[in-house]
């Protein structure tokens, strides 16, 4: 308990930033991942190829390397000026971490969504077209409600993985839960106890998500 209370100045901001990083990148990757899934099922071959290439590239690269790229190589592209970026270094690296997490996770989100769409039989869409539904109606009333069932449980897994992956940002100038132990080591506090607190924090965050996943799986497996 002492380790936690003595270092509240580390744990407080650390946990807060982990959650912030997670929430923003979760929303970002869900949006981008869905768009990518659209690309991958699009009728234009070039779009499909681009989507496939993106997913193959990002899914098979270690996240750390993606971080490497956005911390050290991205500034060379000079899209944003590193020296004046918002005038704030922490914002710059935080944004870099966000981009890395979003790009990486969206590849997995894309696969989940695509697999979900593919579970809907083609006949469903054909039938709705035969009834004269527009593309939006078909998507909103027929395909997506059915796909959701297959999408949500694995999506929760992807989000749990994202939450845990935020810890990798600690090596790239984003202070969050993963960086706490590195600070503790230099302060001379017990690393083991310090780390166990961090682990507990993640368990508390992940267990509800995991329970949700299990209950959804159970409910929908009956409906299917």
């Amino acid at each position: 308990m002492d380790v936690l209370l003595d270092n509240l100045d580390l744990y407080g901001p650390g946990f807060r930033d982990t959650i912030e990083l997670f929430l923003i990148s979760a929303i970002g990757s869900l949006v981008l991942g869905t768009l990518l899934a659209m690309l991958r099922v699009a009728p234009v071959p070039v779009f499909r190829a681009a989507g496939t290439a993106y997913v193959t590239l990002l899914r098979n690269t270690p996240l750390t390397l993606v971080f490497f790229f956005f911390t050290f190589a991205f500034p060379l592209l000079k899209i944003v000026d590193a020296s004046t970026f918002g005038g704030s270094a922490s914002r710059y690296y935080f944004t870099a971490a966000l981009i890395a997490l979003i790009l990486y996770t969206s590849a997995f989100v894309c696969e989940v969504v695509r697999a979900g769409i593919n579970t809907v039989p083609v006949g469903q869409a054909e039938a709705s077209r035969a009834l004269g539904l527009t593309f939006g109606q078909m998507l909103g009333y027929v395909v997506l409600p059915q796909a959701t069932r297959a999408v949500v449980p694995p999506m929760v897994s992807t989000m749990i993985a994202l939450l845990k992956n935020t810890t990798i940002a600690s090596g790239f100038s984003v202070f969050q839960a993963g960086a706490i132990s590195l600070n503790l080591a230099e302060r001379g506090d017990s690393q083991l106890i310090g780390l166990l607190w961090v682990a507990l924090f993640f368990v508390i965050l992940v267990i509800p998500m995991s329970l949700l996943q299990r209950s959804l799986e159970k409910r929908w497996s009956i409906a299917r």
Binding site: T71, S88, A89, S173, E186
Partner: protein, 295 residues
Amino acid sequence: MRVRTLAVVLLAGGLALTACGKEGTPGESASGPTQQVATDVKVDGSKTFENITKRGKVVIGVKEDQPNLGYKDPTSGKYSGFDVEIAKLIAAKLGFGDDKIEYKAIASAGREQAIINGDIDYYVGTYTINDKRKQQISFAGPYFTAGQDLLVKKSDDSITGPESLKGKKVCSVTGSTPIQKVKSDNLTESSNIVELQNYSQCVQQLEQGAIHAVTTDDAILKGYAAQQPDLFKVVGKTFSKEPYGIGLAKDDKALRDKMNDILEEAIQGDGWKKIYDATLGKSGSPAEKPVIERY
């Protein structure tokens, strides 16, 4: 069938890769002064020295990623730098020449354990002497008095010391003591603190202009400045004291005394200065000679 083809291709690729290699190093490699190898050395009552003699070679723990301090050349695997030269000096005075030294790169976190386990005979590598560490191991020296300092671009005159850091972006290794000091002393705004995985990455960011200063022990910074003296400089106003010692087994007082004698002699004579000039001295910054603290 396809699996076998693949294996053959991989194997052939591997062979081709190793066969066409170039040897040696690009440019000239840094070499320190040659040390006279002593003969018939005896250190009575030293278990470590007994082991070394039995083995016929010294195993020294060093760092591999601090240029001009403890550095392994990526193309030849040769070690060089101030710490390495000090390690060589000690080995030579103990009767072991360059060919009888085996270096082991050990990162900061694993140093105490390596000494306690006996994986290495002694460790020379930015090893700050403090009481907490003395409970587990012992220190000879100090052989260098370092202190927290700042590395900036040569053209940058706006940073003159720790008090002028406000509004500047400062980089160091994640969670390290120097960056914690910057935070606790409020030397710059928290939004300007950059924490990366190692100092090379900080220096790379400094070179690119993404940050304004790198902070850590001046010895480490001088090593980088010595690589590119036209580009970087060390500010030279230290704001902490980090005496570097040679780490060795806790109960080996005999060897510790012997090492202190060797260091004392080198510091009094010109041995120490020669080593400094050939390595960290290339940065253009002077250094004070340390005073040995025996215990």
